[in-house]
């Protein structure tokens, strides 16, 4: 048990217990920070470890969010039950898009991922039933 591991363990426990102690004014930004960290970890795996720069992370975030939102508002699922479905859907779409784009080289990869991320953004915004550019509320 090195000092580093103890430190990381302590931080994790503190964060887990935080909602019971801290006020909502601190928890709210912390939640957003945590979400951003999750996206960042995904980008680190992609860009740092696999050396492929992707500008398409935002589209995947949106895809998972829309899946969860649709399942919980339209079909009345609980968010916990909707989580694995969101993961599966996003993973599946990422697999298809990845098979298309992983063959791109160098800066074409950046442009390619940027381009289908923006394309997906406009697709989401314009498909009926997804609430247009106002989104789905009342989650």
């Amino acid at each position: 048990m090195t000092a580093r591991r103890i430190f990381i363990g302590a931080v994790v426990v503190l964060f887990a217990l935080a909602p019971f102690f801290l006020s909502i004014r601190i928890i709210s930004p912390l939640t957003y920070i945590g979400l951003a960290v999750l996206v960042g970890v995904g980008l680190v795996v992609l860009t740092g470890v696999a050396r492929m720069t992707s500008f398409g992370q935002a589209a995947f975030c949106g895809l998972a969010a829309y899946t969860t939102a649709l399942l919980t508002t339209e079909y009345g699922w609980s968010p916990i039950a909707a989580l694995p479905i969101s993961l599966l859907v996003t993973g599946f779409v990422a697999l298809i898009l990845g098979l298309l784009t992983v063959r791109l080289a160098g800066h074409y990869l950046v442009l390619g991922t940027l381009v289908w991320a923006i394309g997906l953004f406009y697709l989401f915004g314009n498909l009926p039933g997804l609430g247009g550019f106002n989104g789905i509320s009342g989650l």
Binding site: R103, G106, H107, L111, V115, G119, G125
Partner: protein
């Protein structure tokens, strides 16, 4: 959908397509000479259009203050760099342009804006404010990074884009602008009615493209740019300084961007953040050309404009998704055609 509508859509598509082609040219020029993926190309277009629109309203455009802030930043950075490296050779020219442009041109605009000078003078003011900004951006952001990877340069370009969009919001506000058309109306060409604006856009674009072609082919500066684009190290060996070539490429890109903005101003309503999408469509044109060929980039961008116009008619909400979705097969084809290790591969003109 009959011939009349089809021809009108074709006209609109050609008009925007030529604007995208100009942007594609500026992006390709900057990329070939400096390996920077010039994402802010659209922002220069938007700045040009918004500056002219505000000048036509008789007010002082925010570009004066953007140019001033950028000029002061450039002067400070250049002074610090010159002091650190001990070379004061280029300091007078750079600081002269950085501080002189906002002072002289900005001062002239401040004095004369309310009296609404004639259109050529307003266009001159727009160009005189925006073109040095390209030069200043190169000196501040990109000169020191000249030997980094394409990815690093692209991240810096995106950062510059966000900075310009933010400055645009602060100085232009969030409302849209549109300039009155330079020559209103359409003429009857027998089978269809062609708008004067389309002919003006096509004629001006053609003149700019021919001027660029002559510049790159006949003049010493242009040939130096081409040499730096083909092989940077070889160009340095024969005495062409990379920073001169880079500064010239960025200045030309700013000029082309501002001119495109002036041309597109009467056609669409532009907002402070419209630049990104317009620039991205110019990128689609250059990618179709494999980022090596100028005529193909022009052709690709015109095709993008026409496709966008037709898909606007048929499925107006999805036009962006269609235009960008059509790029993916091109990217796949380009990646398959070009060999790996493409970054170090020498480009042929």
């Amino acid at each position: 959908m009959n011939t009349t509508i089809g021809l009108l859509l074709l006209q609109d598509g050609l008009t925007t397509g030529f604007i995208y082609a100009l942007l594609a040219l500026s992006i390709l020029l900057v990329f070939l000479v400096t390996r920077v993926l010039w994402v802010p190309a659209g922002d220069f277009l938007v700045f040009g259009a918004l500056t002219l629109a505000v000048l036509q309203q008789g007010q002082v455009p925010g570009t004066v203050w953007v140019c001033g802030a950028l000029g002061i930043t450039t002067a400070i950075v250049e002074t610090w760099r010159s002091w650190r490296t001990g070379t004061w050779r280029s300091w007078p020219m750079v600081v002269g342009i950085s501080l002189g442009t906002p002072l002289i041109v900005g001062g002239a605009v401040l004095l004369t804006a309310a009296s609404k000078p004639i259109l050529p003078v307003q266009i001159f003011f727009t160009l005189a404010l925006i073109v040095p900004m390209g030069f200043m951006l190169y000196r501040v952001a990109f000169k020191e990074l000249a030997d980094r990877s394409i990815l690093t340069l692209m991240f810096v370009a995106i950062a510059v884009h966000y900075a310009l969009v933010g400055l645009g919001l602060v100085f232009f506000g969030s409302e849209g602008f549109r300039t009155p058309p330079f020559i209103p109306g359409r003429i009857d060409a027998g089978f269809t009615r062609i708008s004067w604006q389309l002919m003006l856009v096509v004629a001006t674009s053609a003149i700019i493209m021919i001027a660029l072609w002559l510049f790159m082919g006949r003049t010493l500066w242009g040939q130096a740019l081409r040499a730096a684009a083909v092989n940077r190290f070889g160009a340095r060996l024969v005495g062409i300084r990379t920073e001169t070539a880079g500064a010239l490429a960025f200045t030309l890109a700013a000029l082309i961007g501002a001119l495109s903005g002036i041309l597109i101003g009467p056609i669409t309503t532009l907002y402070y953040d419209s630049g990104f999408l317009v620039g991205l469509k110019g990128f689609v044109g250059t990618v179709v050309a494999g980022m090596v060929s100028f005529p193909l980039a022009v052709l690709g961008a015109i095709v993008v404009g026409v496709v966008e116009s037709f898909s606007y008619f048929y499925a107006s909400a999805f036009k962006e998704a269609i235009v960008f979705g059509l790029l993916i097969p091109f990217l796949l084809w380009r990646s398959a055609v070009e060999p790996r290790g493409h970054e170090t591969h020498e480009h042929d003109e």
